[in-house]
């Protein structure tokens, strides 16, 4: 039946992340914090980062949202830890391109597990859910750079 198409979007890995999200807590002494809102659905997501030597040394998030935004935040916080600011910026742009359906070179290498969210490209109404966490991280990093 028609719902079988749903499993294109809601892969098992995505469902697992949404049900048992990683890094879903507050950081103590975060350097940077950005709260973003998906104005369509009212969901709010707060991303916190610790940055040292132009490298993300810790990342976490809080907030409510749908399966896609939760899983995306969970995967993203996993993937950006230990990456340099420049690398994270690349990742955010690559992720954004990917969910918009564009080809991203070395996608799996760049995004790791988060590349499974490529399926969102077929569900354009959900792109904003998938990108929310990544946009917040991007803003947090921009903040960190302008503070330098």
């Amino acid at each position: 039946m028609a719902l079988s198409k749903l499993s294109n979007l809601y892969r098992q890995v995505i469902m697992d992340h949404a049900k048992h999200p990683h890094n879903n807590h507050e950081l103590d002494r975060a350097d940077h914090e950005v709260e973003l809102r998906n104005p369509t659905c009212g969901d709010v997501l707060t991303i916190q980062l610790k940055i040292a030597d132009k490298t993300v040394i810790d990342a976490a998030y809080t907030g409510t949202g749908c399966t896609i935004s939760q899983a995306s935040a969970s995967m993203m916080t996993d993937q950006i830890k230990g990456k340099t600011i420049a690398e994270v910026e690349q990742m955010v742009l690559g992720f954004s391109d990917m969910v918009m359906g564009k080809d991203v070179p070395d996608q799996t290498k760049l995004l790791g597990e988060a590349s499974i969210l490529q399926s969102v490209a077929q569900f354009p109404a959900r792109i904003k859910c998938a990108t929310l966490a990544w946009k917040a991280a991007y803003q947090a990093i921009e903040e960190s750079e302008s503070n330098d």
């Binding site: 028609a2 719902l3 749903l6 949202g65 399966t67």
Partner: protein, 412 residues
């Protein structure tokens, strides 16, 4: 469903659309409705035979266009029981109409210390204009609370509305709770305290007979696109005395009577509000929508929606984990059903329903204060209209059950 209701499905070709390999079940009517052939034909006919700019022209097409455009004013007046077509102002929609009341009537009549009263169930379009008016004038914005089953709390209204109240503005029917508000009673209350009564009729006019004279309200706003009409065209109705004393907000075109170098005289209402070329084809389409609705009868439409709600509400309620917002009694509500399924975010639910061809909305429905009041971040919403059938209701229930199975048991 009687015969006329049955045949009308043929008038809406979009209802045969295939979406994600399934036949479309369109249950997003509170956002916008589909348009019958008769409306689309009226628009096309206008453009193919009569299109010209109105009012200003001596030539035949301009005359034909003007007659049709002005003719709709009378149709609208009759449709909502207004005295006078001159009380019917064309706008872009409900939002623009409510904003004009706030920015024109409000700014010229409100003073610091005056109070504006709304309710917790208002659409942003009937809330943010009053917030802004309050910020600009120093007036105070106050909220009427809701009862536990999502009705306007009339007892609370009696406390909130006082002699300080200058404006009360309420929706006639809620776009989230589906509840129908007791406008006549609140209007009496408002008038007793010397306040004017503004009504956001976006979710009422399409679904039930409305008579502004009988309700005795002062302003009434609604949108064409939610009542089978085209987008970009709505109505601001106001009592003549009030429209007379309101300054216009958009200047230019036909709204003037005499333009000097530094000073301008304006026409009488409704023209003084209608700056620039209007959505002429939109107005003519709205006229055709009113004809269509009259042909069927608002009574029948209301009954049809009520029967669907009576049919679907118990089935939806019976699904474990479903919470439904608004009154349980179908007689107190329109065909708008907002609900949540425990453990499933409404966005995920709506995506799942979409895979079954069932179009519902998920989100805050432009009613963030209500979401906070209900203690949720979002809801799913199915909203029925005259062309929806019991089969649509069945498909909604089946799709919700499928989605529940998918998300909660992971089986598919």
């Amino acid at each position: 469903m009687d015969n006329k209701m049955n045949n009308l499905l043929n008038d809406f070709p979009i209802l045969q659309e295939i979406v994600n390999d399934e036949k479309l079940v369109y249950l997003d009517n509170a956002a916008t409705t589909q348009k019958p052939r008769q409306v689309l034909d009226a628009i096309r006919n206008y453009y193919e035979h009569d299109n010209a700019n109105v009012h200003r022209g001596v030539h035949t097409l301009a005359q034909r266009a003007t007659e049709q455009f002005e003719g709709v004013r009378q149709k609208v007046a009759d449709f909502i029981g207004a005295n006078n077509p001159q009380e019917v102002v064309y706008t872009k929609g409900t939002t623009e109409a409510l904003n004009w009341i706030a920015a024109s009537y409000g700014r010229t009549h409100l003073h610091a210390g005056d109070e504006i009263v709304v309710s917790y169930m208002e659409h942003h379009s009937n809330l943010v204009p009053w917030q802004q008016l309050a910020l600009q004038t120093g007036a105070k914005l106050k909220y009427i609370g809701l009862t536990v089953d999502g009705q306007l709390d009339l007892k609370n209204a009696q406390q909130v509305i006082t002699d300080k109240t200058a404006i009360v503005s309420l929706c006639h029917a809620s776009n989230v709770l589906g509840v129908i508000n007791p406008i006549k009673q609140v209007t009496r209350l408002a008038h007793q305290h010397g306040a004017i009564m503004v009504v956001d009729g976006a979710q009422a006019v399409p679904h039930m007979p409305v008579d502004v004279k009988e309700l005795d309200v002062d302003f009434y706003a609604f949108s064409g696109h939610k009542m089978l009409g085209p987008t970009g065209c709505g109505i601001l109705w106001g009592k003549k005395e009030l429209l007379n004393e309101m300054p216009p907000l958009e200047f230019g075109g036909e709204m003037i009577s005499n333009v000097g170098l530094y000073q301008t005289d304006f026409k009488a209402p409704p023209y003084k509000f209608e700056g620039g070329t209007q959505n002429i084809a939109g107005v003519i389409g709205l006229g055709a929508a009113i004809d269509y609705l009259n042909e069927i009868g608002l009574d029948k439409i209301m009954k049809h929606e009520r029967r669907l709600v009576e049919y679907v509400l118990p089935q939806l309620t019976a699904i474990q984990g479903i919470e439904i917002y608004g009154p349980k009694d179908p007689r107190q509500r329109t065909g708008v059903l907002s609900f949540n399924l425990t453990g499933v975010h409404p966005h995920d639910l709506a995506s799942a329903l979409d895979m079954d061809g069932v179009a519902v909305r998920a989100g805050h429905h432009c009613a963030q204060p209500l979401m906070k009041y209900l203690g949720v971040s979002a809801t799913a919403r199915a909203s029925f209209y005259l062309y929806n059938t019991q089969t649509d209701a069945d498909l909604l229930i089946r799709a919700v059950l499928d989605a529940k199975e998918f998300f909660l048991n992971g089986s598919f």
